[in-house]
């Protein structure tokens, strides 16, 4: 197969995959008797047509940045972490325990504690599959899937039996103290000129951006990052270079789990203000699509997270204003994963036809 130039690899391949996913989604919309152009207009208007829409798009994007980075870090060690969903749910538990532990006076004090709680619980949930992969060779894809289900069951148990206030019937924790409420973009001086209405996007967005930069530094500017990438490219070569496979597997997965767990400061602490059942709402899985679409680079992850934030908010608007069910976004998400992750070779093969090296002039 023809090797593609770098720009084609970075820009054209994801763009074409996205286009294919878009075309098929449009066909699906046509098949259920609706208008794709109308759908697109509703989505654009609802998600990016106003500051209010952006407030939601950015809120979703914040969560997806964390889970996308989580998948990215593991991917670089050639570990496919499908457990982001479970790790994010456990992270939510950690955030909730931290928020409920003290009557926090101010969010600046509560946020670091909640971040520590979320990261710690997320990492702990990734630790067992990581250990089993590194020491016993149990396939991490399968174990992390199993851990997603175990996490869901564990969360139900905690919410029903432990965290539920005695007077309440819903499987949810008590409300967090007022001092843990994170300022939304509407409440930040300066930004409130743009976001004139209350929106769910909150300061976590800036934590997410910081996380993007830190992941970039980690992967491309530190020795550990080099070890992770070397291990991911070739395990025997890394082993030969004196890199300890057990250590790299553990560390990569712990960071991955911590990032997934950190997502919960956005939805649990920033938005809901209490721990609800199924708090992650599938964001852990969207992380897979975001990482694949973003070519496993923090900048790409950021852009892909915004795209999926748009898709999520736009999909919700479709469910509200048109006859197209909200589940359309699950279809699009699946198609994006399919084209960017599994049918990658097909797209490349097709593009390769256009980038075939020209025969040198004169040589016969």
């Amino acid at each position: 197969m023809t090797k593609l130039p770098r720009w084609a690899d970075l820009v054209l391949v994801p763009a074409i995959s996205l286009l294919l996913a878009g075309i098929i989604s449009a066909l699906v919309i046509l098949a259920i008797g609706q208008s794709p152009s109308e759908a697109l207009r509703t989505m654009v208007q609802g998600a990016v047509g106003s500051a209010y829409g952006w407030g939601y798009t950015l809120y979703y994007a914040t969560s997806f940045i964390f889970t996308g980075l989580a998948v990215t870090v593991a991917f670089h060690a050639s570990l496919f972490n499908i457990g982001g969903e479970g790790q994010a749910q456990l992270g939510g538990l950690g955030v909730a325990l931290a928020c409920l532990a003290l009557p926090w006076p101010h969010w600046t004090l509560a946020l670091p504690a909640a971040m520590a709680g979320g990261a710690l619980f997320g990492a702990a949930w990734a630790a067992v599959p990581a250990y089993l992969q590194a020491k016993r060779g149990s396939h991490i894809v399968i174990t992390t899937i199993m851990f997603n289900y175990i996490a869901a069951a564990l969360l139900i148990y905690f919410l029903v039996e432990v965290l539920r206030p005695p007077t309440s019937m819903d499987p949810a924790s008590a409300r967090f103290p007022e001092g843990t409420r994170l300022p939304t973009l509407h409440e930040i001086p300066g930004l409130n000129l743009v976001f004139s209405k209350q929106v769910p996007a909150n300061v976590t967005l800036f934590v997410a951006l910081l996380a993007c930069w830190l992941v970039w530094v980690l992967l491309w500017r530190t020795r550990l990052g080099y070890e992770i990438r070397a291990f991911g490219k070739s395990e025997p070569a890394a082993r030969y270079a004196g890199i300890n496979p057990f250590r790299v597997t553990m560390i990569a997965m712990l960071i991955s789990g911590a990032l997934a767990g950190l997502m919960s400061i956005n939805n649990v602490m920033g938005e809901a203000g209490r721990l609800l059942q199924n708090s992650a709402e599938g964001a852990g899985f969207i992380g897979i699509a975001v990482a694949l679409m973003g070519r496993n680079h923090p900048v790409g992850v950021f852009l892909a997270a915004i795209l999926f934030g748009f898709l999520y908010q736009g999909g919700a608007e479709l469910g509200l204003w048109t006859a197209i069910p909200i589940e359309l976004r699950t279809v699009v998400q699946g198609l994006v994963i399919l084209f960017t992750g599994a049918l990658d070779y097909m797209v490349r093969m097709f593009l390769g036809l256009f980038f075939r090296p020209r025969p040198l002039g004169g040589a016969a």
């Binding site: 016993r136 894809v141 399968i142 992750g341 070779y345």
Partner: protein, 322 residues
């Protein structure tokens, strides 16, 4: 627990184990051929929707079954295309197809029936009606064994018996036929199969299609046997439990039967918390029972109960040497 209650629980064990067993055997064919399939869930869901829709429209469950198999086959074909022809990542393809199935089934059901993404409730010939096994009443009089035959084995829909029959058939196909020998070989060492002049691609497509058919039957049973119609996400992770059972069974048919019966038993117990309390004397949290199949699978994967070694060539596309 008295004998009558035990029989009730075993009866629902068999019903709940059936979709797991069918999906587990489905995964067995694909994975034995070297194609990992975590898309069992999505194929079952697609089949359940097709069956629910066609059975509701025609009132004929057998047409529903055919539609279910067809729906599942479409997803199997895409998985085959992505993982065999285009040598894509088989795990990612499976994950992607699960999402597509989860969304598109609701979209289709909603646009067909406008009932909030469900299909209308099935009645009469739209469902798999119970079959009385011969002499159920006569044998039922025999003490101990009789009631077991009458209450547990007899009186299920046809697909329960199809699933049970699929176990020996799979065993025979796998270990006693030329196709089975080649299937097992292609999952372990595709190069040797290729050298013998047998097409790796064709064998793998065949296996993936068998997976599609069995998942289709599993989904049809979900929509028209276990329940009466399709509902959003109605498979509820059964595809993953089947995958867990497959690992638990170490990719062998008879063990698959035992594993799925065990997991079906857990599901049946989770429906009867009162019985558990009476038997063990304290409350076992229901989430604990729900999580048990997954926990057991992790323990098996960790190699504490003998190692579970997957087919050697699983997950890798075969590239012919040039």
């Amino acid at each position: 627990m008295d004998y009558a209650t035990l029989l009730q629980i075993l009866d629902s064990t068999l019903r709940l184990a059936t979709p797991l067993l069918l999906a587990c055997l489905a995964g067995l064919y694909s994975e034995r051929s070297g194609v990992f399939d975590i898309g069992l869930e999505g194929k079952m869901l697609a089949a359940a929707m097709c069956t629910g829709a066609v059975a509701a429209l025609t009132g004929n469950v057998w047409l529903g079954l055919l539609a279910g198999i067809a729906g599942s086959l479409v997803f199997a074909a895409i998985h085959g295309l992505a993982s065999i022809t285009f040598r894509g990542n088989q795990l990612i393809s499976g994950v992607a197809l699960n999402f597509v199935a989860s969304g598109i089934t609701v979209l289709a059901a909603q646009s067909l029936f406008r009932q909030g993404g469900r299909t209308p409730p099935l009645t009469g010939n739209g469902r798999f009606n119970p079959i009385e096994l011969p002499f159920a009443d006569a044998i039922g009089q025999v003490p101990l064994v009789g009631p077991f035959y009458r209450e547990v084995l007899s009186g299920h829909g046809a697909l329960v018996y199809v699933a049970l029959l699929a176990v020996p058939v799979t065993w025979w196909a796998l270990y006693r036929t030329r196709f089975g020998l080649r299937l097992r070989a292609v999952g372990e060492n595709p190069a040797s199969v290729d050298t013998a002049g047998i097409s790796v691609v064709r064998l793998r497509y065949t296996a993936v299609m068998i997976t599609g058919v069995l998942c289709g039957i599993a989904g049809a049973y979900m929509a028209a046997g276990l329940q009466a119609g399709f509902g959003k996400e109605m498979t509820a992770g059964r595809g993953y439990i089947a995958l867990a059972a497959l690992i638990f069974a170490k990719w062998r048919p008879w063990y698959a039967l035992m594993a799925t019966l065990l997991f079906g038993f857990f599901q049946a117990l989770a429906l009867r918390p009162d019985v558990i309390k009476k038997t063990v004397g304290f409350d076992v949290p229901v989430p604990m029972l729900d999580a048990l199949p997954y926990i057991l699978t992790v323990i098996v994967l960790a190699g504490f109960v003998g190692r579970a070694i997957p087919p050697r060539a699983g997950g890798e596309a075969y590239v012919k040497e040039r």
